[in-house]
C-alpha cells in the first residue's frame, strides 16, 4: 500500500515536472529572448547537434538515390558548369575567390565547394549526397530545393561538375561555365 502511494506521488511529481517544462518552453518561445540573428552563432553543442542531425538525415534519405554511370562526361560538365555559375557560385564560390557577401553573411556559412577536395571522386555516397542536397535543399540553412523547376538530369549535371570543380583553374572554370558565344561569334 505504501509502495503504491509512493508510486502515485512519484508519477504526479513527474507529470508536474513535464508540465512545468512544457509551459516554460512555450513561455520561452513567446518571450522573444532567443537570439535569431545570423551574426549570433549557436553554442558549440547546438552546432554539433544540428550538424549531426543534418548529416544523419541526408545520409539516410540519399541511400536510395541511383547514380547515373556517365557523370564524368564532358557534356555534363558543360551543362552543369553553366548552371553552377548562375545558381551556386554566389554562395559556394568559384576558383580564385575566397569569400562573398553570402559566405560572410549567411549562417551557417555555405561551404566553399572549390576548396573541398573530393577524397574519392568515384565515391557513390558523395554523389548521392550532392544530388539529394541540390534537389531537396536544407531547412533553415539558405540552401534551396532546386527540384521544383529543375529535373533530375539537370541536377545530375551539376553533381558531375561539382566532382571536378576543385581541380579547375580560374581560366578553365571561365571557359567551361560560360553560356555565351565565344569571341568569334560562334558557340
Amino acid at each position: 500500500m505504501v509502495i503504491v502511494l509512493k508510486k502515485g506521488a512519484c508519477f504526479k511529481r513527474l507529470l508536474s515536472a513535464v508540465g512545468v517544462i512544457v509551459i516554460g518552453g512555450v513561455a520561452f518561445l513567446y518571450s522573444g529572448l532567443y537570439p535569431v540573428g545570423a551574426d549570433d552563432p549557436h553554442y558549440d553543442v547546438t552546432t554539433w547537434a544540428l550538424e549531426t542531425l543534418r548529416e544523419s538525415s541526408i545520409a539516410r534519405a540519399s541511400l536510395s538515390v541511383d547514380v547515373p554511370p556517365d557523370l564524368s562526361s564532358a557534356e555534363r560538365l558543360l551543362k552543369g558548369g553553366a548552371d553552377y555559375n548562375d545558381m551556386c557560385a554566389g554562395c559556394h564560390l568559384k576558383p580564385g575567390e575566397s569569400e562573398s557577401d553570402f559566405t560572410l553573411g549567411l549562417y551557417p556559412s555555405p561551404p566553399n565547394l572549390v576548396a573541398i577536395p573530393r577524397t574519392d571522386a568515384d565515391k557513390k555516397s558523395e554523389d548521392q549526397r550532392s544530388f539529394w542536397i541540390i534537389k531537396h535543399g536544407i531547412k533553415a540553412s539558405g540552401m534551396p530545393a532546386w527540384a521544383p523547376r529543375h529535373d533530375d538530369e539537370r541536377i545530375w549535371n551539376m553533381v558531375a561538375f561539382l566532382k571536378r570543380l576543385p581541380d579547375l583553374t580560374s581560366a578553365q572554370y571561365q571557359i567551361i561555365t560560360a553560356r555565351g558565344t565565344n569571341k568569334t561569334g560562334h558557340h
Binding site: D86, I175, I176, A178, G180
Partner: protein, 97 residues
Amino acid sequence: MKKKFSVLVAVPALILAFSAQAHDEKEHMKTAESPDCAAMSGMDHSKMDMNDPVVMAMMTQCMSTVEHGEEESDAASHAHSHSDHMTGAGKAGESSQ
C-alpha cells in the same frame, strides 16, 4: 455547360503550369559571359590529357575559335599565295607590256 466551362478553365491552366515548370536556361542568356578561349592558348597543351573531360569540355567550348583560327590561317595563307600569284601575274602583266 459546366463541362465545357471546366475544360475552358483547365486547359489554359495546364498550359500555364507546364510552361512554368522548367527553369529555362535561356533566362540566363541575357547576362551570359563568352568563353575566354584566348586563355587556352596560354595553357601548356603538351600537358593536357585529351581524354580528360575537362579538356574535352574546353575544346567543345572553343572548337569554333580553333576552327575559326584555322580558317583564318588558311585564308591568310591562301590570300598570301593568291597575292603572290596576283603579284606574279601583275609582274607577268607588267612584263608583257
